[in-house]
């Protein structure tokens, strides 16, 4: 059974929860007390992931760190529909990778601001928020033009991919880091669509309301 090293308030761990549920996979959670225990910096955990970060999974004896890498591993090995990470569409893989890397940037900016505001981490929050604004503008512009082309998701296609899963949590939690989301209405519409996906469940800090399904356009 897949084991997930997990922390309930981690947006990166939440990405893995989402995909595991959507793939219908059973898994066990090994809870790591990120805050206030800083257990991810303990010697025991550093032996599992020398970078001292969550999430990590253990699958069939293999340890894989990094939320985006875990999404790729799970989708490539377990997705029977082939839509979360379309291995047969080579034109799409580079694009998905582009946005997985972008998601990592969201962690370094939005998540940092959130750690400062919500968990009292000592870091340069102004720099984190400025970095977040830079990235959110890029994402909002991308999604606005995608909408004009009749697309609902980050990458072209009728279904979301792991690019959407990777970018979603910290965008949805941005206001916990003091990032104003009012300037990005295209992002908000994408967040709404994502939250309406069958089987979506929010984590703490996300809007819990069940949204009525959007009518077909």
């Amino acid at each position: 059974m897949i084991k997930l090293y997990d922390y309930a308030l981690s947006g990166n761990c939440f990405k893995v929860h989402l995909l595991l549920r959507w793939l219908g996979l059973e898994y066990e959670r090994e809870l790591v007390d990120f805050y206030p225990g800083f257990e991810h910096r303990s010697e025991a955990f550093l032996r599992i992931n020398p970078l001292g970060q969550l999430p990590v999974i253990e699958d069939d004896g293999e340890i894989i760190r990094d939320a985006q890498a875990i999404l790729v591993h799970l989708a490539a090995n377990y997705d029977k529909t082939g839509k979360w990470y379309p291995l047969d569409d080579r034109s799409l893989l580079g694009r998905i990778q582009q946005w997985l890397a972008f998601a990592d940037g969201l962690t370094g900016t939005i998540s940092a601001a959130r750690l400062h505001d919500a968990m009292f981490f000592d870091l340069d929050v102004d720099k984190a928020r400025a970095g977040a604004v830079r990235l959110l503008r890029v994402l909002d512009e991308h999604l606005w033009f995608a909408e004009q082309d009749g697309q609902d998701w980050i990458c072209t296609g009728s279904a979301p991919t792991i690019a959407d899963i990777a970018c979603f949590p910290y965008v949805a939690l941005a206001e916990e880091g003091g990032v104003d989301m009012a300037p990005y209405p295209a992002i908000q519409r994408w967040v709404d669509r994502f939250m309406r996906l069958d089987g979506f469940q929010p984590m703490a800090g996300m809007m819990p309301l069940e949204m009525p399904a959007e009518a077909a356009e």
């Binding site: 033009f145 009012a182 300037p183 990005y184 209405p185 908000q188 709404d192 309301l209 009525p212 959007e214």
Partner: protein, 193 residues
């Protein structure tokens, strides 16, 4: 062209999708914009009359907007249609603040004053609206650089605004125009000429 009136664009009509809520701002007031099942678009102050929670955090149920905190439901006219904690009864004397608004040239216009009056000459192909972290006045003085576009800077607050643009030019290309305007935003925010 600049707008000297109190009427400003607050959203593109096409971006107000059914069953969703759009946030905007005008002269320091947070706005929530939504389309009801009747097709009408509503522009309200984004503030619940109950506990001042953002209405935009709630949900658009089609015929009403439901607040997130206590589930108060507001009908199209902004009146309280139902309060769950009080047996679902209406409280028609409690209202949200409804802004004067109209949809014209594919744009949602609003005013914090008594009347809305969208200008005549704005229309055609619409640009992507762009946020600027700078006062509207500092943006407007650059509009002469774009003789092919009609541009309006909606003042969001003291230090931020939103650029709305239109072009009657048949050769209009949305992406290249967006790139030109994004350049303008970068220069204005950096304080560069």
């Amino acid at each position: 062209m600049t707008a000297d009136t109190q009427t400003y664009p607050v959203a593109l009509e096409r971006d107000i999708r059914p069953l969703s809520l759009v946030r905007s701002r005008l002269e320091g007031m947070d706005l929530v914009i939504w389309r009801s099942t009747s097709g009408a678009i509503h522009v309200w102050e984004d503030c619940c009359p109950h506990r001042s929670v953002r209405l935009s955090a709630g949900r658009n149920l089609g015929d009403c907007l439901e607040g997130i905190y206590h589930g108060w439901r507001f009908d199209e006219d902004g009146k309280v249609a139902s309060v769950p904690a009080e047996g679902g009864e209406a409280r028609p004397s409690i209202r949200v603040r409804v802004l004067a608004s109209e949809v014209r040239h594919g744009v949602v216009w609003a005013s914090t004053g008594k009347k809305v009056a969208a200008p005549d000459g704005f229309g055609g192909n619409l640009c992507r609206p762009i946020h600027v972290s700078a006062p509207a006045e500092r943006v407007r003085i650059r509009f002469g650089d774009f003789p092919d576009l009609q541009l309006i800077a909606t003042p969001w607050g003291h230090d931020e605004c939103f650029i709305y643009g239109a072009s009657g030019n048949t050769a209009f290309d949305a992406r290249s125009t967006n790139a030109r305007l994004t350049d303008l935003v970068r220069r204005v925010e950096a304080g560069r000429p």
